[in-house]
Subunit: 415 residues, 2 copies
């Protein structure tokens, strides 16, 4: 007797995933979009580009999942045996699909490119599936039903998969899975580490009811708190969730900067827009990372004027007008230089606020007095200029990420 | 009759993976390190933080894998039921481990922090496993053997997992799995899209022997070609691999910029160091991204002087000395402005080479004449200044990534 099938399995095909060459961002993106529509993902499974592995995974999922979403192995190049394997599993044979052939030809004609033989092969498709149009590329999606489990195959190219998911899969399956009503929200915090935060909110956490789940998700410079409430109906779940979050807000108001994975740079962007203020950055150890984050937000040209990345001391002196004598006396990684960097870039770019970073990211350059991980972050406004010292770890990438998040959080507080 | 167990399953525990809130970079990192030691990963499986899901995954893997590496669910906070579930599966009970208790206490004392109750709980461990020291944190690893399958549980915090993998798992299991001798190399190319590249090298690909596998891994601005050869012994596999790569080099020498996931910014860093040259960037649409990439390489302070991120036109004029009349006449996104940005930042920062970007990343700001995705990239050396126009897509993030990779590739060619 088999148990009831439920939920969704995501199967990602590709050797590159199993040797760590490619990170499975496709599956994360799919999971997020499905979760937004309350479509529950059971498992994400990455497997090899072999018939044996593909067949085994399909057999495994057909026993437990109601819907299986498979990506990868449908590109124009010769490493793709997915289609042949699918034919075995679903008792299909490959036939020429005229509509897809026309689409592929039109796709290339539009772009003024010549059709290749490998592109032509993409119109050979199983005879017993529904073909899903790929508006962004040439390999179409395929939809099968077997033993009451639904299977959708998509190409692995991210923006092609995304368009099939958005245009077809999500709308089609939105009404598909019956689940309990639930509400979910992630509280974004910055400024306190995981275990200290856990202690600080323990009396709140301890009284959360059975139907409520809390997860801590730490990363450099921030801890996300994901709250999940299940109830009889959506309205009741949402009401309970809001109450928990209100209570939490009374305990750690200064640590909460946003909700639902809103990044700090978006929060800062909103604050700047609201207040009609402009911003600039002067960066040494972050090398342009803060500017890049701020400009990753669409519409940032309304408030971001620019940045001076002053890696070399001569640039700190020539472009940021910092007296070389001050650098020599205090060192480039110092309160004085951090303050001058922030203050001067603000004056040069004529903005309302500015942030600066100067530190020793590593692996080299540390001293006994200033070990690797020493970072000064400066803030300048029309009213005041100040800098704070931090001691991060000994890994270059973690240090720059900590500096980035901490600088963004300082900016948020100052706005 | 069950088939022979072989290879490795990686199981990542965490609801955050199944709702797409966190990307599974842990599993990719582990897979890469295992692959470097020729330890073959069968599957990467992300599952929910529930007893049912954990037990099901362990049952599933015990039937097929020789080694199962599990991460997540061992942190100090209360969302962690992994340990209780493990006890069910391995018939264990939790007992106080004095050595771990001492380690946790010492860990906090060293950092001058107070021990919390949740930290204390981490010393409660199953009585029938080998405890693996976690030098970077407080939750130790656990090693069980059941039905001839080996299981290692590790915390999900990346740098703690990484230290247990590096210090214990990789050395311990390096001799563990018997596999064929093999050689593998990834050829990094930039400058031609996947299907055109496939056509260009098809006569080379078509004659690759049975024991050789080729995979195309495209991403914005580059296509990686992964070649994998299996043979009787390591030496023969490597020799054959080198021959294939030499042959490929004769067909597309100008497209190959490196091997084995070496990023373009590292290639450029090497070239600059070799030639004793220095570099600066002037960035508009990339917002500091090129500077950030260049400085992500340790030792980049030897050749990278700095960057002017000129997002606002007034910064292009005031800091990069570009006549406002030229911006008004040609527009900020133009050959003239791209050339002046590169030329002037090179003069201002007194470097040997400079690169500039100016474009319309989107979603707003496009016109009929210059739609979203229009980007000019400029290069300046002592000898010459030029700019090239590109037409990328309509997605902001893809556009900046394409611009970044294309600019880095132009720099590489010019060096």
């Amino acid at each position: 007797m088999s148990k009831a099938k439920k939920g969704i399995d995501i199967i990602s095909i590709g050797d590159e995933l199993l040797i760590g060459q490619v990170i499975n961002t496709n599956a994360s993106w799919m999971a997020e979009k499905l979760n937004n529509k309350a479509l529950p993902v059971n498992r994400i499974i990455a497997i090899a580009d072999t018939s044996v592995a593909i067949i085994e995974a399909l057999h495994n999922s057909i026993n437990s999942a109601k819907l299986v979403l498979i990506t990868g192995g449908l590109g124009p190049t010769k490493d793709d045996l997915t289609k042949a394997t699918i034919c075995d599993f679903f008792d299909s044979k490959l036939v020429l699909n005229q509509k897809v052939k026309d689409h592929v030809e039109e796709f290339f004609a539009k772009r003024g490119r010549k059709l290749t033989e490998s592109n032509r092969q993409q119109a050979m498709l199983p005879n017993n599936c529904e073909i899903i149009t790929n508006s962004q590329g040439t390999a179409p999606g395929m939809y099968f039903i077997k033993n009451e489990t639904h299977f959708v195959f998509m190409p692995g190219v991210p923006f092609e998969m995304k368009s099939i998911m958005t245009e077809w899969v999500i709308p089609y399956f939105s009404e598909f899975c019956n689940i309990k009503a639930r509400a979910q929200k992630t509280v974004m915090t910055s400024g306190m580490g995981e275990s200290f935060l856990a202690d600080k909110i323990s009396h709140w956490e301890d009284v959360l009811p059975e139907n409520t789940k809390l997860a801590y998700l730490p990363s450099p410079g921030k801890v996300r708190l994901r709250l999940h409430v299940e109830s009889e109906n959506k309205e009741s779940a949402e009401k309970q969730l809001e109450q928990h979050i209100q209570d939490l807000n009374l305990i750690i108001p200064e640590l909460i900067y946003g909700y639902d994975d809103e990044p700090l740079e978006a929060v800062i962007g909103k604050l700047l827009k609201e207040k009609g203020k402009t911003i600039a950055t002067a960066e040494s150890c972050t090398g342009g990372m803060i500017a890049e984050k701020i400009t990753s937000i669409a519409g940032s040209s309304n408030y971001f004027k620019g940045s001076i990345v002053a890696y070399a001391n001569e640039i700190k002196s020539n472009l940021l007008n910092i007296d070389m004598a001050i650098i020599d006396e205090h060192g480039a990684v110092s309160e004085e230089v951090a303050c001058l960097m922030a203050n001067n870039v603000r004056e040069i770019m004529q903005t309302d606020i500015a942030v600066s970073t100067t530190g020793i990211a590593g692996p080299d350059g540390g001293t006994d007095e200033k070990p690797v991980g020493t970072v000064w972050i400066g803030i300048a406004t029309k009213e005041r200029v100040f800098a704070k010292k931090y001691q991060f770890g000994n890994q270059r990438e973690r240090n720059t990420n900590w500096t980035l998040q901490t600088a963004l959080n300082m900016l948020r507080k100052e706005l």
